[in-house]
Symmetry: C2
Subunit: 223 residues, 2 copies
């Protein structure tokens, strides 16, 4: 991504103190991404994170009230970033079909390094979104968290792509179902290819996953 002076802004409900506002905050975010990837979300703790960044558990709690909230923060950041990439890439494309095709590519492709947001490693973040983000909404507090707007950025992405679908076929009745299926599906296929290959045909290297979901989408919405 080009060197633009932009920043992903995250609403203040997701943190106690804005991690973008200090060096410590940014270290918390960037090293938590690394550590969740290394240890998995269950084994990751604020104590271990504090040791890694030469800070203290209690200091981290000043930014995030729990590790679950931190995961939600990362999820929001990720989807805000994807939304930005998608809007940027589809802007000025005149044909609805091309817009949708571009959006699908962005949603299903492998994430490449992006140096526009220096302290966040998007490649690793993508990996933890794939492996851990379902834990953000598979909780007993989903409904409450949903009311507080925790899943808004994700929903906005789904809505935008659904709108492209409706532009192409106004009679198609299930755009949200289709788009959330391909988003979650493509993430799962990447996870399966690494850990449960019997559940997929996707092999790393061959980037056939984009083609699969692209075909599936256009065939499904054809009237």
């Amino acid at each position: 991504m080009k060197n633009l002076n932009i920043q992903i802004t995250i609403e203040s409900e997701f943190y106690t103190k804005n991690p973008e506002s200090s060096d410590l905050g940014r270290r918390i975010v960037s090293h938590s991404i690394e550590m969740i990837d290394e240890l998995g979300f269950e084994a990751f703790t604020f104590k271990k994170l504090g040791q890694r960044i030469n800070s203290n558990e209690s200091s981290i709690y000043r930014y995030f009230e729990s590790k679950h909230k931190l995961l939600i923060y990362l999820m929001c950041w990720y989807w805000s970033w994807v939304e930005y990439k998608m809007v940027f890439a589809t802007n000025n494309i005149p044909e609805a079909k091309d817009k949708l095709q571009t959006a699908i590519r962005i949603l299903t492709q492998k994430v490449m390094e992006d140096n526009a947001f220096s302290y966040i490693n998007e490649v690793v973040l993508h990996r933890i979104i794939i492996a851990e983000s379902s834990k953000a909404y598979h909780t007993k507090d989903v409904d409450e968290q949903n009311k507080k707007g925790f899943f808004k950025p994700y929903k906005r992405v789904v809505q935008r792509v659904s709108d492209f679908v409706i532009d192409i076929n106004p009679d198609f009745k299930f755009p949200h179902m289709l788009i959330s299926t391909i988003i979650e599906g493509s993430h799962q296929q990447r996870y399966f290819s690494e850990h449960l290959p019997a559940l997929t045909d996707y092999e790393k290297g061959k980037e056939n996953i984009i083609q699969f979901y692209n075909d599936l989408t256009f065939k499904t919405i054809a009237s």
Copy 2:
């Protein structure tokens, strides 16, 4: 399901002592299903389960070495049961297309009560599979657990339906990808419809979810 003298048998790697072998074992399984549904997997503990069934934490540990293993047991039971239903329903159907259509219906439909397996409430089990089963494989031990065969029943179901797909279109390259996408997708749509309705178009009551995934499948595999 008819009153047949059948039993779902689960391989001995999933438990320390077979819960089918005693009254306590069956109570552990049936009440754990209820409690995981009520509390969510995180808040569910063997201590609470012991209290509910008037038994003791330590007694439960004689059957399952951890609550994670219990979840895997439930998942295996569920997929073995689905496999049985599917084989039963597709048996003797001559046309490959009808076979696939039947299989998709079984994989994506709402689960109804089934009194063939008395002590397991399949409706509730289906709900916890939808809400919690991704936690069974989103762990740092996936690869090890996969080696031990923990996901075999699920894989077998995917393989069987993939074979139906290949019968219809031998040139289709991504049958496993397609089938795991519709299985996980349909589960997610049911979860979304209850908790994150902006991500789906599915509404309870109208069973349009089966139709959606059926259309999607046949359009996708058409040559």
